[in-house]
């Protein structure tokens, strides 16, 4: 019987349904639009503020704004949605109706991740497309003004802008899965949000810790640095916007490795989240 079959195997349909619903929740959230509007507004400002761009060229200036929206507002979105979707559901007690159905806790966790990630992807995709459009318009204007600079055609590689956007989705997905892991332990959503922010910042600084540990005399400091450098993923790997702003591109192999690295960490954090959520009382 169909019903029996669904019960004995890990049911992707359950995760998918929960993911779809969670995604619906995020895009019906005011925060999503507020952050998107802020990011697009700042991108628009990059057109108006062109006289401020000291020493850096105009396209890079616009790109800084676009990438800024993705990383700054994107990380806020990732942390808040992951925490709201996962811990918020426990806090709001909506989880009872769902978990009273014969679904696995792991299906729930994966579903929540799917919802959060799709929300991140929608956000980053909107921004990336708007950024590409802005860059294209600006570059076209510059091309007509300074044809000699653009004698070899466009300077920017737009596929790489898209690729960079996708890498931000991977990075923010890692962040979302960490927040889900923390939420699975948390007893308040504020806790998971604060820990999420701290992890995000430490993960960006992880590469510094890698270089620094062992260079201090204090055993305590070295231990802390060692733990930070090993226990956290290197979010800084995904900061290659400057390279793209210079018209350089990253190789396919690097893109694949970045996706693989991110996927590995997401899998780790989600497995651990399942482990802790499985026995969690509601």
């Amino acid at each position: 019987m169909n019903e029996k079959l669904n019960l004995s195997f890990w049911n992707m349909r359950h995760a998918w349904l929960i993911g779809k619903t969670s995604y619906l929740e995020t895009v019906r959230m005011k925060l999503f639009y507020a952050l998107l509007a802020l990011s697009l507004f700042s991108l628009g400002c990059s057109f108006l503020l062109q006289e401020f761009n000291f020493g850096s060229d105009e396209l890079k200036f616009i790109m800084d704004f676009g990438f800024g929206g993705m990383t700054f507002f994107g990380s806020i979105l990732a942390i808040v949605t992951a925490s709201q979707l996962f811990y918020g559901e426990i806090e709001d007690r909506t989880v009872f109706t769902i978990l009273a159905k014969p679904i696995r806790r792991s299906e729930f966790v994966v579903g929540k991740f799917i919802g959060a990630w799709f929300c991140i992807v929608s956000f980053v995709l909107c921004l990336t497309l708007c950024l590409m459009l802005s860059l294209f318009v600006r570059e076209s204007i510059l091309m007509s003004q300074y044809p000699e600079v653009f004698s070899e055609g466009r300077l920017l590689n737009y596929l790489d802008v898209l690729g960079f956007g996708f890498m931000q989705c991977v990075r923010l997905g890692m962040l979302g899965s960490i927040v889900i892991l923390f939420s699975s332990y948390a007893t308040s959503s504020l806790f998971s949000i604060i820990i999420g922010v701290v992890t995000w910042i430490l993960g960006q600084l992880q590469h510094l810790a890698v270089n620094a540990w062992g260079q201090y005399d204090s055993l305590f400091l070295n231990t802390i640095l060692f733990i930070v450098s090993i226990a956290l993923p290197n979010f800084h790997l995904y900061d290659f916007g400057d390279k793209i702003a210079l018209g350089e591109s990253a190789s396919i192999s690097v893109y694949l490795q970045l996706v693989g690295y991110g996927a590995l960490y997401c899998a780790l954090y989600l497995s651990l989240a399942v482990l802790s959520f499985r026995e969690r009382e509601l």
Binding site: L7, L24, F96, A100, K101
Partner: protein
């Protein structure tokens, strides 16, 4: 008779956050719900009713004892395959529309999208929410939420229904509606476990009850057996004034007198009569 739900020596302690003290929410509780019967779990607020239900649904881990649904331990996911649950509260996804939500629950229980929508429409009709199908749940009143909760509990056509305070926050007319729906479900052979602190509402539908107080079982059994009669009274039928006076005279010889009482409608009854005339 088959046993639908069995609770054996259930004990649940909560660790209180601040003190390292423990709160015993349920203590050594045992009862059985027979297939096809309506079982009421009664008790004041905080007596452990919801805790018991969460243990039955596997949302809490018992400190001692166990819960079985149709012989399957609550720890197993399979035990929840044929259950409909109305949580206490009620709290549902505010961002969804009513029918959308019922359909989601149906799909999580194994229905296809199409099935879940048509089944959802039927049920929204049954609980009287046919006009609110595509309204956001955030705009529902408390009574509407309870009805919605009933609809989602029924969407997978479960054989066992677990209802946590189904009439909380509902007006008396609504409570009667809900009681009627429950009665109808009982007639269709469903097993129902419901809990409530409003005893009068439960009385009419329950076959059996268990009464909890501070986590302890204080009484249980068939409802007729539990409601042991108080003083016995005799009624004087309509008769002449003379007849009444003679009865009083006889009584006064024995140093007694007639006790006069007037039947009083309950406020609830009055409310129901008044509002139903309006319709």
């Amino acid at each position: 008779m088959d046993i639908a739900i069995e609770v054996k020596n259930l004990r649940k302690d909560f660790v209180l956050a601040r003190q390292s003290q423990r709160l015993r929410a349920v203590d050594d509780l045992s009862f059985q719900v027979n297939t096809g019967s309506v079982f009421g779990l009664l008790g004041p607020n905080g007596s452990g009713k919801s805790t018991t239900i969460k243990a039955i649904l596997g949302m809490l881990n018992p400190d001692k004892g166990e819960c079985l649904i149709e012989g399957i331990s609550s720890k197993k996911r399979e035990s929840r395959a044929r259950i409909g649950y109305l949580p206490e509260g009620p709290y549902y996804y505010k961002f969804m529309e009513g029918l959308e939500f019922v359909s989601l629950v149906g799909q999580l229980g194994g229905l296809t999208k199409l099935e879940s929508v048509s089944r959802g429409e039927e049920l929204m009709d049954l609980v009287g929410l046919q006009d609110a199908c595509d309204r956001r749940i955030s705009g529902y009143s408390k009574g509407m939420l309870q009805r919605l909760g009933l609809a989602q509990a029924l969407v997978n056509d479960p054989s066992i229904l677990i209802l946590d305070e189904p009439t909380a926050g509902v007006d008396p007319v609504g409570a009667v509606d809900i009681a009627n729906i429950i009665g109808g479900l009982k007639n269709r052979g469903k097993t129902i476990l419901l809990c409530s602190h409003l005893l009068s509402q439960v009385e009419t539908v329950c076959d059996e009850v268990a009464v909890l107080n501070k986590g302890n079982l204080v009484a249980s059994g068939k409802i007729d057996e539990l409601l042991v009669a108080g003083n016995e009274y005799m009624e004087i039928p309509e008769c002449s004034l003379e007849a009444t006076q003679r009865i009083e005279a006889i009584l006064s010889e024995e140093g007694q007198s007639l006790v006069k009482r007037r039947d009083r409608k309950s406020l609830e009854q009055l409310f129901i009569e008044l509002t139903q005339e309006e319709e």
